[in-house]
């Protein structure tokens, strides 16, 4: 039941927010914020509950929820929550709340509709994290798109239309491929067992011919690595991130990309173990290429947001590498990476946003020497830059360390490449600091430092990233609840 609440809360909230714009201009903001905080509290509460029974064994589904939807196709509205989804939901609400706050002053027009879209997209994302019915999954997968399209297309920057269009087409095409493979799986399962069903639990145990297995797997995989995005399909990402409003970028980087990773962990590997093993080397290679290539491009950028965008290409490469290393360490690393990257990159985008508010530019060359003007912001930025280059003691370090440690057993050479990626990361991250805050300033800035609202956003992020860096155990525990589904396959 609570799972349904997780999904309905944002979606209903969306409509309320839209309507409330009639009452007062900033009413939608408050509505959205309250909704998000409520969701955060709920999910955190759930987490707290499951904290109590850390050591229980058996099936790892903490909560499940089922409703018949389209019996004719064997489609049911079935939700389930395990450690992975739980973490993702918490993250979603956390970043959701922040993205509402970050757009508090940025969005001045059509406030109601803006928050409608924000909440709607978040609702879709929560749905994606929770659903255990493939049709429903596809459904939410598509539901995420439209509002995001509007977010970019209406409130974005200069050539937003193009960016939104590109984003939409890439993900849509991927989605259709996924639909085809879902259907293929569905009918193969039917031909084998004689029952029509989209239920994840049922399909999990379909013994399909190797050939079909591989094709279908590719269908899923492409959809997910487009979203992720991995090397060949990443071109939509920089545009989308750069053109989107800050909140949009935060959601994109922090959450939407995670849906791709989540999809790989949840569907690709468990559903198609053989195929995943078969393709693993190639995919890991893609991941490695992504890491290096993303890093290189990031270094070459002069646009703050664009730079950050490419860093996330690089970071997602780690996810790909870890996910197909098939062992517990790497897997936990991937989970960690998803969360920490969400936090750190989100934070960086927020900083970019607030810089833009102050300087009305994203050009690194037009910045520089801001430290004296904005010491607080400088500190915050420093922290997150360090995080993204994987400084020990911050979340990303743990994540990437685990991934590398895990993948070393699977594919040493790729690990080496990835490690080089870390160096690249150091370079471009420091470049940010250097370009923005140090160096010679073109002119004397008299700029307001971080406001109370911004501090309110940043502090939780800082706490989170440090906490994840120092004491990641709770996360790992919860994530390890979901372990078996992968561990099974990694044991060959």
């Amino acid at each position: 039941m609570i799972l349904l609440a997780f999904i309905l809360l944002p979606i209903l909230g969306a409509f309320v927010a839209w309507l409330s714009s009639a009452v007062h201009r900033s009413a939608p903001r408050w509505v959205a914020l309250l909704v998000m905080l409520a969701g955060l509290v709920l999910s955190a509460g759930l987490w707290w509950q499951v904290q109590d029974d850390v050591y229980f064994v058996g099936d790892h589904w903490l909560r499940t929820f089922e409703l018949p939807w389209m019996p004719r196709f064997g489609i049911s509205f079935s939700l389930a929550l395990d450690g992975l989804s739980l973490l993702m939901v918490v993250l979603t609400f956390f970043l959701g709340a922040l993205s509402v706050m970050v757009s508090w002053n940025e969005i001045k027009e059509r406030v109601g509709f803006f928050h409608f879209n924000i909440l709607f997209v978040l609702g879709g994302i929560v749905g994606v994290f929770l659903t255990m019915d493939l049709f429903l999954f596809y459904f939410f997968w598509e539901v995420m798109l439209i509002p995001m399209y509007f977010l970019i297309g209406i409130w974005g920057h200069a050539n937003r239309t193009y960016a939104a269009f590109k984003f939409f087409l890439f993900t849509q095409a991927g989605g259709l491929l996924m639909l085809l493979s879902i259907l293929g799986l569905y009918f193969i399962h039917h031909s084998l067992t004689g029952t029509f069903t989209f239920s994840y639990f049922e399909l999990l145990h379909t013994q399909m011919p190797l050939e079909a297995n591989r094709w279908l797997m590719l269908g899923f995989l492409i959809a997910f690595i487009v979203k992720l995005p991995a090397f060949p399909f990443h071109t939509w990402l920089p545009d989308a991130h750069t053109e989107a409003p800050t909140a949009g970028s935060v959601i994109l980087a922090g959450l939407l990309l995670k849906t791709g990773a989540y999809g790989i962990l949840r569907f690709v590997i468990p559903l198609f173990p053989e195929a995943s093993h078969y393709f693993a080397p190639a995919i890991m290679l893609l991941g490695a290429i992504g890491i290096l290539y993303g890093g290189k491009l990031a270094y070459a950028q002069t646009d703050f947001k664009r730079l950050v965008a490419y860093t996330s290409v690089s970071h997602m490469g780690f996810v790909l590498v870890g996910a197909f290393a098939f062992n517990a360490l790497a897997y936990q690393g991937v989970v960690m990476q998803m969360i920490t990257h969400g936090i750190s990159t989100g934070a960086l985008f927020m900083i970019a946003g607030s810089l833009y508010e102050r300087l009305h530019t994203r050009e690194l060359d037009r910045m520089g020497g801001l430290w004296p003007a904005l010491p607080k912001m400088g500190v915050v930025t420093m922290i997150f830059v360090m995080a993204s280059l994987g400084l020990p003691g911050l979340g990303n370090f743990i994540a990437e360390f685990l991934i590398l440690a895990g993948s070393w057993q699977a594919a040493p050479w790729i690990t080496v490449a990835a490690t080089i990626g870390l160096v690249v990361a150091t370079i471009y991250s420091l470049r940010i600091m250097q370009k923005v805050f140090f160096g010679s300033s073109q002119r004397e800035y008299t700029l307001p430092d971080l406001s109370l609202r911004e501090m309110l956003m940043m502090v939780p992020l800082i706490i989170a990233i440090i906490w994840l860096g120092v004491y990641p155990q709770p996360v790992i525990n919860v994530a390890s609840r979901a372990m078996p589904s992968v561990a099974i396959h990694s044991s060959k």
């Binding site: 018949p68 389209m70 059509r110 509007f150 259907l183």
Partner: protein, 476 residues
Amino acid sequence: MSASDLLSLLPLLIISGSAVIAILLVAIRRNHRVMHAFTVFAFICALVALYFQPYAVPYVIAPLFVVDAFALFNTGLILLAGLSVLFLSYSYFEQREERKEEYYILLLLATVGGMVLVISQHFISLFLGLETMSISLYGLIAYLRARERSDEAGIKYLLLAALSSAFLLFGMALVYAESGRMDFTGIGIYLKTLHAAPVAVVAGFGLMVIGVGFKLGIVPFHMWAPDIYEGAPLPVAAYIATVSKGSMLVLLMRFYRDINGYEYTILWWVFAIIAMASMFAGNWLALLQQNVKRLLAYSSIAHMGYILIAFLAGQEAGQEAVIFYLVAYVITSIGAFGVLALMSDEKNDAENLEDFSGLFWRQPWLAAIFTGMLLSLAGIPLTAGFIGKFYVVAAGVDAELWLLLVLLVINSVIGLFYYIRLVAIMFQPLPGPAVRRRMPFFGIFALSALMILLLWLGVYPSALITVIRDMMLTMG
């Protein structure tokens, strides 16, 4: 004609009778409001009568008609479509100076044609229904005499429709000459008796395909569609896109089933090629359009292609898919054209892309509806179009028409381009200050109803699906 026969034809009789009464009404006194009210009333009466029809058992009125669940369902579809078109028509014609009353007579007659088509199981009734519909459509298309495009569209449609029905007739004549039967089942039986269909019959079917294909507006018989949609009054365009095509499709399904056409690979391939061609031609040409009407016309061609895929999938899954998609398509098209109709002013229709720029900030509700319709056409979730497309793909996968399916996917991606482009235009920031026009109540009411239906089918289609399933089961 026994009493029960008449009873089972009651909806049809009501509509046709009210057409005559409408003629007399006009003769007595011209009054747009009265005519509109009367026509709406007639449609509602017909729907009520339909509601009380015994649903399950097929009722044959030899030799022309058969009233089975399938027929009843589609009759209902036609009536509802007609009703919503009516709601959209009033304000559209009210602001124009031509004589408005005949429009309703013609609409009633066209509906009669459609209803006959849906229940016919015999060449003669087929022909009668078809022509009743076409001839009233000529009038409807050319209704706005002041516009020269309207006349042009009318004469084009007339010539081409006459041509196509000539083909259809000649084909039927060949089949008849060979088999000596004009009722579908009879032909089916005749074909069963011999191993390979004789050349005359094959030729006949070929000619009939031309005739039917024209009505469906599928490649290569689609050239009329864009011009007609552009020239015709918007409600009429909506009507053609839905009722005329829909009833023809239903007839095609019935005929195909009765002659168990799935056995003939030639026919299958013909339709397969037509389907591919329609998808590609429709989508590609739609990409080039600057006129929204023409864009919708081409997209409707593409959609017919999608439907044909489901049709070719055969089996019950395929047929269900066809019907479901048809329903979704009808809702969507009427909605889309309805928005255009409500946006049009006295002089010209809203059809250029710039008419839509920033619509969302002028007419948020209208724009939202239009967005919904376009997304449904594009097959995005939460809309009926999505479930419809899913249904089609499912049927296709079931029948393992991989080639067609891949093409379908490619085409839906192409389709996204122009649908989303239109949406993007609507959400552009306004050039000037937002000037709002008052929207007629009926139109908004109908559109909202359609929108709700769209979302409902998109979120919870089970109800409709079960209905369609039961219907197909009764068909056997």
